[in-house]
Amino acid sequence: MNRINQKLQENNSEKLLSIYFTAGYPNLNDTTTIIQDLEKGGVGMIEIGLPFSDPLADGPTIQASSTQALKNGMTTEVLFDQLKDIRKTVNIPLVIMGYFNPIMQFGVEAFCKKCKEIGIDGLIIPDLPVDVFNDQYKSIFEKYDIINVFLITPQTSEDRVRFIDSISKGFIYMVSSASVTGSSSGFGDTQTDYFKRIAKMNLKNPQVIGFGISDHETYIQATKYAKGAIIGSAFIKNLSKNGVDNTARFIHSILN
């Protein structure tokens, strides 16, 4: 069983904090340290960002970290190389989040194969649309047991939410508001209404809420309605401000 499924189905009441960070930031070789510290800090799942030159679904924080990571020399090859022994020390589910073009250039099958070898459990590819995935890449993902994670937003129609649920395997990435990463602060009525609406739909896949979660309060709010919550920009900001050594303290501040 894929680690994602294991994790999200074990202990039904336990909530899960997932952290996104950009591989190669702040320094090229921080990747494994950050992953290890996150697990130690109590994080339930990690999204490793494969940096891209033109990350159009991301806000300024993640974009800046991607630019820096690329400058530092991060590439797909380098990332896989850094991760090759990661499963010797880390047990929680690992997901790579990246835009489609670098993956396409690597070759989708080669990419999945490599993930499998290393022990990556899933991919989030924001600009790979559901239908293209279904038509062209589903069988490859299945072959290597890599879970492809789909997103829903407040604007996603009920029909489409059900459709996405039907083809999802691990969890649904529930974008808190239709917006790029790192933009809002705190959740208002519109968002909690949306959280409630989705919760009531009794989907087969657990939902993890992302975008706009930055502190303990928003984490608690989000996990009231969903299985888990993802923090990205707030963690990157913490890396920039307090350095790589501060991970445990940051996670503690979110969880408690």
């Binding site: 891209f52 679904a57 630019t67 090859e77 293209v132 997103l151």
Partner: protein, 393 residues
């Protein structure tokens, strides 16, 4: 065989809609409606009336006598430079603003490189009384100052794109981000035949008026509606798409797409996508783009802000791959020289983008009775500083 788009939104293997889920409702709404709306008689009437009375169409098909003598062939210039706001871009923005109104949008965003599309968008927003935000690379803001001033006059907000190469590609990223953040009330008026399906097709259809007019205008002048060649510069590819459109499937008409070679195709400072590009995804569509082996998009370079884009639209990727169009890359210097030549020989100051198309005559020999239609996609008023500096006038 057709070189046009198929039902799935692809030109051959290129196209599609590689978009984040956040954009799905917007793009899907457009996809489901654009063809329906475009054929409505009321839409057609309003669109055509504005093209005629506001834009000033038909744009002339002008026989360039002195240029034709110089190159010993028959050169016709399709005068998109005479359109309101000074380029072909307005054909598309008129169409899209009418579309946006029918979709109930009251906020318009756009990206711009040379500023022509930004001006054209600001213009139609003023015309319809809609809010307008234009994203423009910081570098382009500096080198196309007159167009920035025009957008301000027209009441648009110009937002600088500060990331990446700070040119067109980055302005497009910013515009897409804005759209993701404003999914309900906002329409994104893309300025070229790029972006996710249905944009490339929709923009091409709005620009198709160009080749439609070439057909009947040429019939009047040469008693044939088929030129031997149609030549157009390609940034994203909208003026070329418009000039080629009605000839796409008629292989008697040879198509020439002119790209910007910058300081030389292999100089590392170029925007010649067909030579330097590989298949990939940029701004929501699968097409040819300039990128590193690792799939990072490369920063392009051209003296011309409108051609300074690392990709081409999927139609052009297909025209290239299939061999339907010939692709030629023209350097900064050759383009500038061809531009000045047009000034001195025909009294027309072309946009530097269009000068790339005009430079073809120094690179390719045509027969005396060949009819060569060149898309004069815009006027050069926005480029005066660049010309003056280049030639130390």
């Amino acid at each position: 065989m057709t070189y046009n788009i198929n039902e799935k939104g692809y030109y051959g293997e290129f196209g599609g809609a590689y978009i984040p889920e956040m954009l799905y409702p917007n793009v899907e709404e457009l996809r489901q409606n654009y063809l329906k709306v475009m054929v409505e008689p009321e839409f057609q009437e309003e669109f055509n009336a504005l093209l005629k009375d506001y834009v000033g169409r038909p744009s002339p098909l002008y026989f360039a006598k002195r240029l034709s003598e110089k190159y010993n062939t028959k050169i016709y210039l399709k005068r998109e430079d005479l359109n309101h706001t000074g380029a072909h871009k307005i054909n598309n923005t008129i169409g899209q603003i009418l579309m946006a109104k029918r979709l109930g949008k009251n906020r318009i965003i756009a990206e711009t490189g040379a500023g022509q599309h930004g001006v054209a968008t600001a213009t139609v927003c003023a015309l319809m009384g809609l809010e307008c935000i234009v994203y423009m690379g910081e570098i382009d803001i500096a080198r196309q100052a007159p167009n920035v001033a025009r957008m301000k006059m027209l009441g648009a907000t110009v937002v600088p794109a500060l990331s990446g190469s700070r040119t067109l590609k980055d302005a497009t990223n910013e515009a897409i981000r804005d759209w993701i953040n404003n999914p309900v009330n906002t329409h994104y008026i893309i300025g070229s035949v790029v972006g996710p399906h249905p944009y490339p097709d929709m923009v091409a259809r709005f620009q198709a008026i160009v080749s439609e007019e070439i057909q009947w205008q040429l019939k009047e002048k040469e008693d044939t509606s088929k030129p031997d060649y149609v030549v157009a510069c390609v940034g994203g590819g909208s003026n070329a798409a418009g000039a080629f459109y009605h000839f796409l499937d008629d292989t008697d008409v040879k198509l020439i797409a002119v790209e910007a070679a910058g300081r030389g195709v292999h100089s590392g400072e170029s925007a010649a996508t067909s030579v330097l590009g590989k298949e990939g995804i940029i701004h929501g569509s699968k097409t040819l783009l300039m990128q590193t082996p690792d799939g990072q998009i490369t920063e392009p370079y051209s003296i011309s802000a409108g051609l300074d884009y690392p990709g081409v639209g999927p139609m052009h990727a297909h025209l290239y791959k299939s061999g339907r169009a010939e692709f030629i890359a023209i350097t900064d210097d050759d383009a500038m020289t061809a531009g000045l030549d047009l000034c001195k020989m025909e009294g027309i100051i072309p946009a530097i983008e269009s000068s790339h198309a005009l430079a073809i005559f120094e690179h390719k020999k045509f027969q005396p009775d060949d009819v060569v239609v060149v898309s004069l996609s815009g006027r050069g008023d926005k480029d005066l500083d660049t010309y003056i500096k280049h030639f130390k006038l």
